[in-house]
Amino acid sequence: MKKKSTAFKTLLIDFLLASYLVLCIDSFIFTRHTMENGIDWASFGVVLLIGLILGLILNRVSKLSIGKMFLKEYDTSKARGIGQKPYAILGLVILAVTFYVGVLVTELSFYEFFSQAGIQGATRIFTALLNPNFEVLDQGILAVIETIYMAFIATAFSLPFAFLLSFFAARNLMNGSGFGLTVYYVIRFFLNVSRSIEPLVWAIIFSVWVGIGPFAGMLALMIHSVSSLAKLYSEQIENISEGPLEAMTATGAHPIQVIWYGVVPQVILPFLSFTIYRWDINVRMATVIGLVGGGGIGTLLMQFQGLARWNEVGLLIIIIAAVVWLMDFLSSKIRESIK
């Protein structure tokens, strides 16, 4: 039974890798597909077919199956050197093809990088950046203060939500009953989904919802902070020692008292530390979110960049760097002191 499913898994891996290889060779190296061509689903089917045949062959031929290598079907303890590991050579071929396709797709152009016009542009922008215009210092400082407070409020508002959610997202507290486990899975699912959506995307959504500005940026950061913090918090809860929990249960304490005395004292400092770190991250993210209209120094940067006022941009970059460095320094000092 187990043997069979392993064999199937190795074949599946070989099939997918072979298809990938055929697809790369066909569409990028031979025919040079571009976006405008769209996808030719018929020939994609052909690619899968060839991939299946090739995959079967690789799976059967001795020592050429990457699938078997992954699932530890080969005894690699005796193999010395790459000559005795043909699957490793195949792996390298796939890596090389991926690299080549990667270069094609990202349109690396060393010519433009070193061309006359390119160098001139770079010189112009760097000269301007290195000659920051201090006349916009006031404006920049006010904007960065907005960013810092936006990040602080986003962190502070997300804290109670993340705190509450984390207990329901901790497996060791929820596996007592079927209902508890269901709640655990549902919450985990939503946390994972909301965390996998970048704050930048949330900012775009909220800037349509509540209008462009710091509030939209704050909401975007908050959503992301709630899910990130809840995840970190709940992992911390899952790592506590069960002893105090057990002792509190044994005294006849109510489940809320059990959590308050059995769990919270064990996690409070790590929680604090994560939260301060989150504020630090949020200041950086708030800057980026500002670029899409989330307010603060990012938005200001975007305006000057749109007007090609590089000297002003230069000053803003200095302010951002200074603030990011300062936040980083402070947050690591604070986190150290509460260990």
Binding site: G243, P244, T251, G252, A253, Y261
Partner: protein, 255 residues
């Protein structure tokens, strides 16, 4: 003799399928110092945790003072647990909290959630906690962080915490297994004092037979989740010892 617990074919199968108790039956009498012995993995800890229902028995019946307690729920279950103090091998104190705060957690079952969250314990409870700290010989350490104390001191804090519950029974799960010999005896003396002066029944898992003979008034031995001996400590001779602990075992003493 007044009966306190009655275990009737008590079963415990863990969710992973391990059958830790295979129908164990015996009675616990009020006021005795009952010692449970057996190899590691024989089900001693499981048995103690079934008594106060921090683990759920999966079969058989358990009676406390003549009433079945296997189906108690919610508030009733918590009231029941509050009558049974428990101490552990690794003390299980609340980290980062003072000795006094730890001892006060013994009152949680009679303190409202709101008051306990904000540390608003009654004056009577505070007074009592201070007295108990003195009883276990830790006067002057009330405000020390409990997790910075030595092992023996931590175990005494946990004894005070259990006494704070006004318990009728004290369960002790290998209370001296992580302590050195001298400290072990001091902790065992406190347990004896609790049994003899306060009249609290003690049920204690132990490893060392010498401690069993010195402190126990009665012994139950478990092996592979089944009761294989019940009697007085003096009845455990060489022969029984080998049956409980296996042919290879050699008795070690702790002085």
């Amino acid at each position: 003799m007044e009966n306190l617990f009655k275990l009737d074919k008590l079963e415990k199968t863990y969710p992973n399928g391990v059958r830790a108790l295979k129908g164990v039956s015996f009675d616990v009498n009020k006021g005795e110092f009952l010692v449970i012995i057996g190899l590691s993995g024989s089900g001693k800890s499981t048995m103690l945790r079934c008594l106060n229902r921090i683990h759920e028995p999966t079969g058989g019946d358990l009676q406390f003072k003549g009433k079945s307690v296997v189906s108690l729920k919610g508030r009733e279950l918590r009231q029941y647990r509050s009558k049974i103090g428990m101490i552990f091998q690794h003390f299980n104190l609340v980290p980062r909290k003072s000795v006094l705060e730890n001892v006060l957690t013994g009152t949680l079952s009679r303190t409202s959630i709101f008051k306990s969250v904000f540390n608003m314990y009654s004056d009577a409870d505070r007074q009592k906690a201070l007295e108990l700290i003195e009883v276990v010989g830790l006067k002057g350490k009330e405000m020390h962080r409990a997790d910075n104390l030595s092992g023996g001191q931590q175990q005494r804090v946990s004894i005070a915490r259990a006494l704070m519950q006004d318990p009728e029974v004290l369960l002790a799960d290998e209370p001296v297994a992580s302590l050195d010999p001298a400290t072990s005896h001091s902790v065992m003396e406190y347990l004896r004092k609790i049994q003899q002066q306060y009249g609290i029944t003690v049920i204690c898992n132990l490893h060392f037979l010498s401690l069993v003979r010195e402190y126990g008034t009665r012994v139950v031995a478990l092996k592979g989740g089944e009761k294989m001996f019940e009697g007085s400590p003096s009845e455990i001779d060489e022969d029984w010892f080998k049956r409980i602990y296996g042919e290879q075992a050699v008795e070690v003493t702790i002085n």
